[in-house]
Amino acid sequence: MLAPYLLVFLAFVVYPITYGLWLARHPASYVALYNDPVFARAVVNTLIFLIVGINVKMLIALFLSGFFVQSRTWIRWLSVLFILPWAVPSIPTILSVRFMFNPEWGVINNLIFKFTAEDGPNWLNDPAIGLTLAILVHIWKSLPFWTLILMTGRLAISNDMFEAADVDGASWWQKFRFITWPSMQTLYLTCTLLSMIWTLGDFNSVYLLTGGGPADLTHVLSTLGIRYLRLDQLDLAMASIVCAMPLVLPLVYFMMKRLSR
C-alpha cells in the first residue's frame, strides 16, 4: 500500500530536487555566481527582505491579533475587510500596486501633477524604493493570514487568567508580558520560522512589482533563477537556487523539530 505514495514522492519531490542538484553540480557555476554583482546584490536584498519583512510583519500581526480578538460587531466586520488582501490572488493585487506607482499614469503621480503641476518621482526606478515597496507589498499581502493564526493563539488563552489579573490590578502591558506572550511565544516562533521559509520563496512580490529592476538591482534569490534562465544560463539559474539551501534547510530542520514536539 505504500507504493503509490512512494511513487508520488519520488516523482514530485525526489526527482525534481535531484535533477536540480544535478544541473547545479558544476563548481564553475558557483564561481560565476560569486563573480556576478547581480548575485551579490540579490543575496543582500534577500537578507533585507527576510529580516525586515518577517519581523515587521509578525510584530504587526501580533499587535493586530490583540485588536481583532475583541468581540465587537464593527471589529468583526472590519476583520472581514482585513482578510481581503490575503484572499485575493497575487497577480491582480500586486499589479494594481505597480500601476498605482506608474510614473506617468499611476494614481499617485496623477494626484501629484494635479496639485503641483510637477511630475512625481519615478518610484520604481529607485532600487531602494522598489525593494521597500516590494517588502511592504509582501507584508500587506501576508499580514492578514498571520494575524488570523495569532488570533487563534490568543483565543486559546483562558479568560480566567485575564480576570484574575484584572482583580490584581495588572496593566495591559503586564497582562501581555506575563500572560499573553508566555502563552503565545511557541506559536509565534513557529509562525516566524514558517514565514521565513515562505518569504524566502516569495517570487511574486518582487517579480510582479519591479521585475528585479531597475537594471537587476532589486532581485532576490527567488527571482534570480528566472533572470539567468532568460540569459540562457540554466546552470547558473539552478546554482542560484541551490545557494538558498543553506538558509532554507536549517529553517526546515528547526521547523520540523518544533512541530514534532
Binding site: 526606478n125 531597475p214 537594471a215 537587476d216 534562465l229
Partner: protein
C-alpha cells in the same frame, strides 16, 4: 480438435495483429512549431494561414504554440535542457540574443542544403546573418532561415506637434538641434497648450527589451563607433571608440535626465513604447519597425471595431502619424541604419527533422513567405528580392518610407561578425549602462568604462 474458445482466441489475435500493423498508416505525422506572438491580429492570422496551407499540402499536422516575445528565450532554453525543443522555432529575439550562441554550442541544425538552392532569391545583406560558426565542428554553416528584417524608424504624432505650435518642417536636421527641439521646445509647448503630461520623446531603456539596444546602436552609429572590425575582433581599446560611446550614452540618457521621456521608459519592454505612443503620452519615438503606424492601419480594417474607431485608425495612419528618419550625425553626414534579419531555426535535438525541413522549405517559398511578411502590414521588410519589389511597399507613405530606407543600404549588427555579441545583447549591457547613469547617478564616463570592460570580458 479446435475448440470454440481456441478459434476465438486465434481470430482475436489475428485481428489485433492486423490492427496493430495498420496503426502507422493511421498515425498522422506532426511537427511542433513555436512562434513569438505578433503585435496585432493580422500578423498572427497570416502565420495561421501559411500553416493551414502547409497542412493541406503535406498532411503534416503543425502543433503551433505562440508565446510573448520576452518568454521565448527562457522557454526555449528550458526545452533545450529537457531535450524536448520544438521542431521549428522563430522568435523576434533569437537572432539578436541567442542564435549565434546556440549555433556555436552545436544546438542548431545545419540547413545549408535548404538555403543553398535559393541563395539568388535573397536580397543582399540578409541570408548572411544565418551563416554562423559551429564550435563543435569548427565550421560555418547556415543555422537559421531568414524570414524578414527590420530597421530603425522614427514615428511622430504630427497633430500633437501642431498642438505644440510646430510643423514638420520645423524639425531640425542636425543631431543636437533635433533632440533639443523635442525636449526643450515641443514638450513644454505641448504641455502648456494642452495641460497634459505628454513627453517629447519615447526613449526605450528597458533591460528586457531589444528596442533599447537597437536604438542605442543608432546613437552609437551617429558617433561613428565601430565596436568590432570585419573579422569580429573588438576595437574597444581605441580611444575614439570610448569617446564615441561617451557621446552616444550622454545623448541617450540626457533625454531621461531632462525629463523628456516617460520615467517608466527605464523598464519598458518591447511593446511599451508602442503603447505609450498609442496612448498619446509621447509625441515621438524611435522604433525598429513601423509596427506603431501599422497598428492604426489594422484598426482601420478591423470590422470588430466601431465605425468611429475604424475612422480614427484611418485618420491616424493616413494623416496624423508620420514615419520619418533620424537626423544627421553630429558630423553632419546621414546615418547608415543597421538592419536586423529575423531568423527561425531547426534544433539539433528536433524530433522530426524531416517534417521541420519540409515546413521551412514551404515557408520560404515566395508565395508563402510574401503573404506572411505582408500580413504584418509593413512591420517587417522582406528578405527576398521579389518580396521587396512587391507593390505592397509602394501603397502608402509609411511603407514607402521603409522601402526607401532599406534601398538606401543598411549595415548588419555586430553579432553577425562576433556571435558573443548575442550574449551582450541578451544581458543588454547597453540598457544597463543607461540605467547606471539615470538610476544610479553614475557618471557617463564611468558607465562607459564599465560597459567596455564587460564587452571585453564577454566578447574579447
Amino acid at each position: 480438435m479446435i475448440t470454440k474458445g481456441t478459434r476465438a482466441l486465434v481470430f482475436a489475435t489475428a485481428a489485433s495483429s492486423l490492427l496493430l500493423g495498420a496503426v502507422p498508416a493511421f498515425a498522422q505525422q506532426s511537427i511542433t512549431v513555436w512562434f513569438s506572438k505578433g503585435f496585432y491580429k493580422s500578423e498572427d492570422e497570416s502565420l495561421l494561414a501559411a500553416i493551414k496551407k502547409f497542412e493541406d499540402k503535406t498532411k503534416i499536422k503543425v502543433e503551433l504554440s505562440q508565446y510573448a516575445i520576452q518568454d521565448m528565450i527562457p522557454k526555449t532554453v528550458a526545452a533545450l535542457d529537457s531535450g524536448t525543443p520544438p521542431d521549428v522555432a522563430y522568435a523576434d529575439t533569437y537572432d539578436v540574443q541567442a542564435s549565434g550562441k546556440w549555433a556555436y554550442e552545436g544546438k542548431l541544425e545545419d540547413i545549408t542544403d535548404i538555403l543553398q538552392p535559393m541563395m539568388d532569391k535573397f536580397a543582399p545583406n540578409t541570408v548572411e546573418t544565418a551563416f554562423l560558426m559551429n564550435g563543435q565542428t569548427k565550421k560555418k554553416g547556415y543555422y537559421g532561415f531568414p524570414l524578414k528584417q527590420q530597421s530603425m524608424h522614427v514615428e511622430i504624432w504630427s497633430d500633437m506637434l501642431q498642438q505644440a505650435g510646430f510643423k514638420l518642417d520645423d524639425i531640425p536636421k542636425d543631431w543636437k538641434g533635433y533632440w533639443s527641439f523635442w525636449c526643450d521646445k515641443v514638450q513644454p509647448a505641448y504641455r502648456k497648450a494642452t495641460g497634459s503630461r505628454a513627453y517629447g520623446v519615447g526613449q526605450p531603456m528597458g533591460v528586457e527589451s531589444t528596442d533599447s539596444l537597437q536604438s542605442f546602436y543608432t546613437f552609437i552609429d551617429a558617433y561613428n563607433v565601430k565596436l568590432v572590425d570585419d573579422d569580429g575582433k573588438l576595437t574597444v581599446d581605441d580611444p575614439k571608440v570610448k569617446e564615441g560611446l561617451v557621446g552616444a550614452l550622454r545623448d541617450y540618457t540626457d533625454t531621461y535626465i531632462k525629463g523628456c521621456t516617460p520615467p517608466s521608459s527605464t523598464t519598458w519592454k518591447d511593446p511599451d513604447n508602442n503603447v505609450a505612443f498609442h496612448n498619446r503620452s509621447i509625441i515621438m519615438t524611435h522604433n525598429f519597425t513601423i509596427s506603431i503606424a501599422a497598428k492604426w492601419f489594422e484598426d482601420s480594417q478591423n470590422q470588430t471595431l466601431t465605425p468611429e474607431q475604424r475612422a480614427a485608425g484611418k485618420k491616424a495612419y493616413e494623416e496624423t502619424i508620420v514615419t520619418a528618419s533620424f537626423p544627421n550625425k553630429p558630423d553632419g553626414t546621414p546615418i547608415k541604419y543597421r538592419s536586423d534579419v529575423k531568423t527561425g531555426m531547426i534544433f539539433a535535438q528536433s524530433k522530426n527533422k524531416a517534417g521541420a525541413r519540409e515546413f521551412v522549405k514551404f515557408l520560404l517559398e515566395e508565395e508563402n513567405l510574401q503573404p506572411y511578411v505582408e500580413g504584418a502590414l509593413g512591420r517587417w521588410f522582406p528578405v527576398t528580392k521579389a518580396g521587396q519589389a512587391s507593390p505592397f511597399w509602394q501603397a502608402d507613405k509609411h511603407r514607402k518610407a521603409v522601402y526607401t530606407q532599406f534601398m538606401g543600404g543598411t549595415t548588419p549588427f555586430d553579432f553577425t561578425k562576433n556571435y558573443k555579441f548575442t550574449i551582450l545583447n541578451n544581458e543588454n549591457v547597453w540598457a544597463k549602462a543607461m540605467n547606471r547613469v539615470v538610476s544610479e547617478k553614475v557618471p557617463v564616463e564611468k558607465a562607459v568604462d564599465e560597459l567596455i570592460a564587460r564587452i571585453k570580458e564577454i566578447a574579447g
